[in-house]
């Protein structure tokens, strides 16, 4: 029984390690940069008009 548990947790851990977050990072950063750019665009428009 304990042997089985061991095996199970082992395979589970190795599965997690294979998960790649590279695309998630690219998407998150793209979204973040878009939000920052649009925020600054509106902020400079505000400064320009005051």
């Amino acid at each position: 029984m304990s042997e089985m548990n061991k095996q199970k947790s082992k395979s589970h851990t190795s599965g997690e390690n294979h998960t790649s977050l590279k695309t998630t990072l690219i998407f998150t950063m793209t979204l973040g940069v878009l939000i920052l750019l649009s925020w600054f665009a509106v902020f400079f428009l505000f400064l320009e008009r005051s």
Partner: protein, 157 residues
Amino acid sequence: MHIHKYEKIWLIFGVGSLVLFLGVIGVAAFAFGHQPPSHMATVDAENLDQDPVFSEPGLTKIDESTYRATLVAQAFGYNPNRIEVPEGSTVLFEVTSADVVHSFTIPGTNVNFMVTPGHVNMAEHTFNEPGEYLVLCNEYCGTGHHYMSMTIEVVPR
């Protein structure tokens, strides 16, 4: 606790942006005195004709280049509906409503705020370019909403 390297990157990015945005708001509010258009100044909306300021709305001169415009918004217009200031003047707008929620919007400037009954809504703007400035109601206030406007005439010095 194990955090993935990439997760660390976007957490730092997220928290960093939050600090940046809150910092900008803090500096604008405490160092430059930016405030919301309704400065918690109140007025009795049902008895505006007895109010010392709003019973006679209009333009008053504070100093050589500063004016105070007290205006009453009411369906479907502003009182007075035309003011005239010289070029380069800073106008402090103090606007209230005698009935429903209106707005006071000068297109192309940062003056764009709600006019709520019972509140004195304020904004200021320096008119550096001479010309005729249109003021519009931006808040649907009834069947004549699209007719609600006034004019600010900025004359050359």
